[in-house]
Amino acid sequence: MADGALTGLTVLDLSKNISGPYCTKLLADYGATVIKIEKPVSPPFAKGDSEGFCRGESRIRPGGCSESGSGDHKDRPYGDTVNPANIDGLFLFLNTSKKSITLDIDNRDARNIFKRLAKQADIVVENSKPGTMKKLGLDYAALRKIKPDVIMASISYFGQTGPCRDWNGCDIIAQAMGGLMHLTGEPERGPLKLPLSQAEYQAGLNAAVAILCAVYHRDATGEGQYIDVSVQEVVASILEGAISTYSYSGTALHRTGARHRYKCPAAIMKAKDGYVHMESSAYWEQFATMVEAPQLTQPRLASILRYQYADEVESAIKPWFEKRTADEIFDTGQRWRMPVAKVMGVDELDGDPQYKARKYFREIDHPATGRRRYPGAPFRMSETPAAINRAPLLGEHNDEIYIDTLKLSRDEMAQLRERNVI
């Protein structure tokens, strides 16, 4: 198999939910060996579990047939295909290219095994509540005694220090306390969160970048280190100029609904059959011609300060948009070289010619679900393209890791299994 960019790096992944798994998915898809450490028995959905879902806990279970029809479970060599632990769609997506071993980290023998694994690892990723790793004797101070140049990344909602360190968080709380929610939504209505746990993905992305910076430093100096990622802070870090703006002029920016703050027109508008996002280019006269609204060329509206008359500008162009379908607007707008886009649903992405031409979605076979099309690589590397392989079954790599790598005997394995350690 061709090398990935990160081939040779070994990651121990204790994380759950979305933030940690998205971080290690990036590492794994680009070549790192990621060993996902899971509880031997996937617990039923524990609603009070503030750490979020493990396997089988998200709401995505395959309902109908698989897309290619090749996913007939009965023909597959695995016996546990009815185990929801293996067919959770969000889990399958977030854990591509990883290996799975079972290890009950709450057990003392398991922790010794973990330490033996840590001795051979470059990176440890975890997203438990601050203090948990210390209680287990597996915090950075302990791990660096075993592996002095280890890189450990902890993701938590509020970070490992500070008065809110032990607060309970989840995605909506991080979006609220990170300042993003206040800025999203209609100006006259309440704040709105971004959908689908976006704060968690941002945390995973930041952790992944930080880890590779630490790897770069380690490769140059031999020094490992500890990385503390706070979901609240990564959200507060992507507010564009909002915090600086407050410092510059004392203005705490407010929500602007479907509109840009000061570019005009730049908004989501109604089309005949849905919505488009439209924006004029710098060529204002051409834009006025395209949307058949010559009144826009009067000096007051031809100025970049026209954002003060956004209502007037939008009502002048509204009829042109409402008469056309989103497809027509996209085609016409792009022909005029205006940055116009269609507001698409995730169900429309499959038919999109650009994704198709670039072969973006990856068809991945999985013994428990058959072939499904997954989101593909977020970027393309000429020498080391992403290799996105299916998510592991629960404990699928126990033999490989415990017997081949750690050299445990079959007897030792059997004993550990009996005691539910693995």
């Binding site: 960019a5 040779g8 998205y22 009070g48 995505i60 309902g63 500070g162 809110c164 989840c170 909506i172 709380i173 609220a176 306390m177 300042g179 206040h182 939504g185 309440g190 709105l192 969160k193 971004l194 689908l196 941002q202 992305l205 910076c213 770069y216 490769d219 490992g224 280190q225 609240q232 802070e233 564009e240 909002a242 915090i243 410092s247 002029s249 705490a252 920016l253 929500r255 602007t256 479907a258 703050r261 000061y262 919505y275 970049i304 300060l305 954002y307 003060q308 940055p339 116009v340 886009a341 269609k342 649903g345 995730v346 992405l349 031409a357 997954y374 989101p375 977020p378 970027f379 393309r380």
Partner: protein, 429 residues
């Protein structure tokens, strides 16, 4: 923390041709970690907007200038630019001139990474495709960030981040349950592309260290945003269940939302994930009679009656201070947090104690606060060492010190218009 300590990306030199936010956000992350990022700007494409006459423009745009005043050189005083471009150097080169191209190539020879986010046709038109640049420096890593990617039928389509949010399926899900699609409250597609780009660059640097070769990276903003919709995409593929906007609600648990608090535009987010947490919330509310309604005792019951439930909770929260209430609820073990605006963030005792903000002095914008490094690293923490550069501020440093040009040659470049004093003025103010 000593600033003399070796930084994580010490010795990495990045040429940054990128504009606005996606590319600059990627290079911000690298610069915060100690990479030497050199922005290349020119009069026609400054990446900071054109020069404005002295104005007090008003609205959110005006608010982005110190005290609402564009000043003599608006392009050095814009909050958005100055926040994302801290820790970088800036020089001017006009790449439409042969001398500019020649100087650019000399810079490529002594650099590690090139970041650009022009339309895909621009770099080849300058004669600066990856094929050309790798002949000059075989170990160079080049990343092109574009809306739709370097090939395919939409290659030349024009789009900013908001168009990408629309075309990836995100905007459609940003809506109140009864409402039309809205935009995210920040340049979300740009930030997401920038983060993935920084990851890509670091991965390529790692590979180069191991194998000694550079490479080319093609990053489509749309393709980098799409994985963040993975949950909805997988649900759609597995269950033919296209996602619907849920506002602040959660598909599986209730209550989960944003509730009004005392004061103008004050809100609190609350999420209750279990029956135990529900009982804790009831106790925190002092067990009002309605909370003992058996319909609310189980998660399924609360989900089924959440309109009524949200209404009842709102009636309680609207009399309370959101920050005090969040503290009180947290002390009961409930997930709660005040919805913070920029002023609240800057004054947040938790963020302050963690040292999240940094005070930065900019020669033309004054002393201001901005978010510091996005994460904490124990050995190479990174920091804001210097403010965003003024237009052309480092011409002499880069051309003279790094490229060894004589004063005469530097002056000649200015005369030929290869370098510039200021961006072109906005033509339509």
């Amino acid at each position: 923390m000593s600033s003399k300590r070796r930084q994580a990306l010490a010795g990495v030199r990045v040429i940054d041709l990128s504009q606005v936010f996606a590319g600059p956000y990627a290079t911000k992350l690298l610069a915060d970690m100690g990479a030497e990022v050199i922005r290349i700007e020119c009069a026609a494409r400054s990446g900071r907007g054109g020069a404005l006459p002295r104005l007090r423009p008003g609205g959110d745009f005006g608010a982005a200038f110190p005290d609402g005043d564009t000043g003599e050189r608006s392009y050095n005083r814009f909050a958005y630019y100055n926040e994302v471009n801290r820790n970088k150097y800036a020089i001017t080169i006009d790449l439409s001139k042969p001398h500019g191209i020649e100087v650019f190539k000399r810079l490529v020879k002594i650099s590690d990474v090139i970041v650009e986010n022009f339309s895909p046709r621009v770099m080849p038109n300058f004669g600066l495709s990856y094929e050309v640049l790798k002949d000059i420096n075989p170990k160079i890593i080049m990343i092109s960030i574009s809306a739709y990617g370097q090939d395919g039928p939409y290659r030349d389509c024009v789009s900013y981040g908001e168009g990408i949010e629309a075309m990836s399926g995100l905007s459609k899900l940003i809506a109140y349950p009864d409402g039309a699609p809205l935009k995210p409250g920040t340049a979300y597609a740009d930030a997401t592309a920038g983060l993935h780009a920084a990851f890509a660059i670091m991965a390529a640097l790692r590979y180069r260290r191991v194998k000694g070769v550079g490479q080319y990276i093609d990053l489509s903003m749309r393709e980098a945003l799409t994985p963040l919709l993975g949950e909805a995409i997988m649900d759609c593929r597995m269950n033919h269940r296209p996602a619907k906007p849920m506002g602040n609600r959660h598909p599986k648990i209730a209550p989960h939302g944003c509730y009004p608090a005392k004061g103008n535009d004050k809100w609190i987010a609350i999420a209750v994930e279990s029956d135990g947490e529900w009982r804790a919330l009831c106790k925190a509310m002092d067990n009002p009679a309605w909370s003992r309604d058996s319909r609310f005792a189980t998660n399924n019951g609360r989900l089924a009656h959440r309109d009524e439930l949200d209404e009842l909770i709102s009636r309680w929260t609207c009399g309370c201070d959101n920050i005090e209430l969040a503290e009180m609820l947290q002390s009961h073990g409930i997930k709660a947090g005040a919805v913070l605006n920029a002023a609240d963030l800057v004054n947040d005792p938790h963020l302050r104690e963690r040292g999240f903000f940094e005070m930065v002095e900019h020669p033309e914008a004054g002393v201001h606060i901005m978010p510091g490094v996005s994460w904490k690293m124990s050995r190479t923490p990174g920091r804001v060492e210097r403010p965003a550069p003024c237009f052309g501020q480092h011409n002499r440093h880069v051309f003279g010190r790094l490229l060894g040009m004589s004063d005469k040659e530097i002056e000649e470049m200015a005369r030929e218009g290869v370098t510039a004093e200021a961006p072109l003025p906005y033509t339509d103010v």
